[in-house]
Symmetry: C2
């Protein structure tokens, strides 16, 4: 047995660094790591689990490393070019880009919601969009119990969702600098513009939230609408989620259902000013849910406030959880 | 004729200063101004329209000034104490606090929406909550044409909504200071907590948005729900508004209807990255509306993004507009 080989593609980006952080915490049964980057970063050294590694330039020779699993977070273009090549060579690609998410043959997985999809892969498994991951973790237990009729999303997304350049953009903007990576200043603004606009008037981020939620919850016709907004916050996405159910519910029971669900921390003591906050979610893998209250404007509905670290659970942690599922299959098979 | 006497109560606060700014711009037919403040600020001097005034300590002798109109922005407690006293003495109080807004005998006025209510006053006219004012200006023209069925509000509110102390709170928080006026750090956070919580799980700010929208639109049973959130932005409130209509509509016609409505600037060229922004609305009296798009999750619905300067149109400008209506009646009578 050759041992398990894992490749990280895009190791120097914000999500790539979080891959290293999460992998070093969770101690997966991996024998060899390989780190790939663009030509610009290739040759640089990085420290990981007490060892030094040299970044390898990403090209078609990546197949020579006999990778069992590759974690990709280097943008859709890189994924489109290299993921199919690796998939053909017995590697399972876990891709954090949007490139394959809506492909029928590609599972789109949030382990707390649809772990069973992992084994249906054909070499590529997609990691959902950050804003979708935290939403579906919170929606799944109540979808199972009360069946969702409609969702209205309004998001409050951190600049880290745009990677390192989002971070530097807010830093510069807070100092009065002109916008470089965003279309408008992000300091003192809420930009209702994440990813690019489509002719429909919706941004791709909004369309992702609608389509990915449907796919992950396996509700292809679920009524969903979204407004996604970048706010001047460095880390963690917050979401105002309005949900209408098919069935009536008891609010205390609904909250209890969320409390018992995996990877959720309920913070619902509003009289004590306790509710999910970006500054508290930072660095954690759980999804924080609070402000859970009956919406009196519909027959059966609630509002809730959902916060998570978009780089951890919204990207790296979720991808590593998928890798764990793949490895379980690997050792079982 | 004694001339028109106007009193400003709370002249040193954030809204009070905006009163002076708006009054000096709009040149109302006012003969004498009197400025009232707490004992702490009384005796200080302020400049207004090229003259110097001394702040007068607010007490029951305010009736001696024979005020025709008093603009109040010194909190609900002060309004409760002095507004009825002035009303009894032939003064029309335009009150920016929440003290009287939901009283049946007190008109709650946004001139673009329900100017006709002004003449129904019994000495007190209430100025609505900032987040409600900008919303109803944008809702009124489409309510008239398509009749609204339901509204889901999610707000992105500036710290200036909490007055000067909101401003200093964000300044300190951005420097790493611990929270003083807010329950949690406002830098790098979105706080789903404005005004105090009620047992219902909703904050008073959320309840205000629901009840005041109903009263101003004269739709006492309109289905509305709200999540109000403080964001780390100094000025101007942004709002994600999801609206369901009773009737079908043509989107182009709906946008045209908004364009033609008073005090609205439509910024809906999303392909050109043009949409309402807090940094652009600052200092202006108009309500900016954009990101107007059909909501495919209901039969007849839209999403839109509404931004306005919460201290100008959301408070001072609206109150001064009400004063203008009162003066018109005064000179007509």
């Amino acid at each position: 047995m050759k041992g398990v080989n894992v490749g990280i593609v895009g190791a120097t980006g914000m999500v790539g660094r979080a891959f290293l952080e999460v992998l070093s915490e969770r101690k997966l049964p991996i024998d060899n790591y390989y780190f790939f980057s663009s030509a610009r970063s290739a040759g640089k050294r990085i420290q990981f689990l007490g060892k030094e590694y040299t970044l390898i330039e990403l090209d078609e020779y990546i197949v020579d490393y006999k990778l069992d699993i590759a974690l990709f977070s280097a943008g859709a273009k890189v994924s489109l070019q290299y993921a199919p090549l690796l998939a053909k060579n017995n590697c399972v690609v876990i891709d954090n880009s949007s490139a394959f998410r809506m492909d029928k043959d590609v599972p789109l997985v949030v382990p707390e919601v649809n772990a069973g999809e992992v084994k249906k892969h054909n070499g590529i498994i997609a990691n959902p969009n950050c804003s979708t991951i935290q939403a579906v973790v919170a929606l799944k237990p109540i979808e199972d119990k009360y069946r969702i009729k409609r969702i209205v999303y309004s998001t409050y997304q951190a600049v880290s969702g745009a990677g390192m350049k989002g971070y530097t953009e807010l830093e510069n903007s807070l100092k009065g600098g002109a916008p470089v990576n965003f279309p408008h200043p992000i300091a003192n603004n809420c930009l209702p513009h994440i990813d690019v606009f489509t002719e429909s008037g919706y941004t791709k981020e909004e369309i992702k939230m609608v389509e990915e939620t449907r796919k992950i919850l396996n509700r292809p016709d679920l009524a969903i609408t979204a407004t996604t907004v970048r706010v001047p916050v460095f880390d963690c996405h917050s979401e105002s989620i309005n949900i209408e159910f098919e069935k009536d519910f008891d609010l205390t029971e609904l909250i209890e259902t969320l409390r018992e669900a995996p990877s959720i921390i309920v913070q619902n003591n509003h009289m004590g000013s306790e509710y999910p906050l970006a500054t508290n979610a930072k660095g954690h893998d759980e999804v924080y849910v609070g402000r859970i209250r009956r919406d009196m404007s519909v027959k059966y509905g609630i509002n809730m406030w959902v916060v998570a670290d978009n780089i951890r659970k919204g990207a790296a942690t979720n991808a590593v959880q998928i890798a764990e599922s793949v490895l379980e299959e690997y050792f079982r098979g």
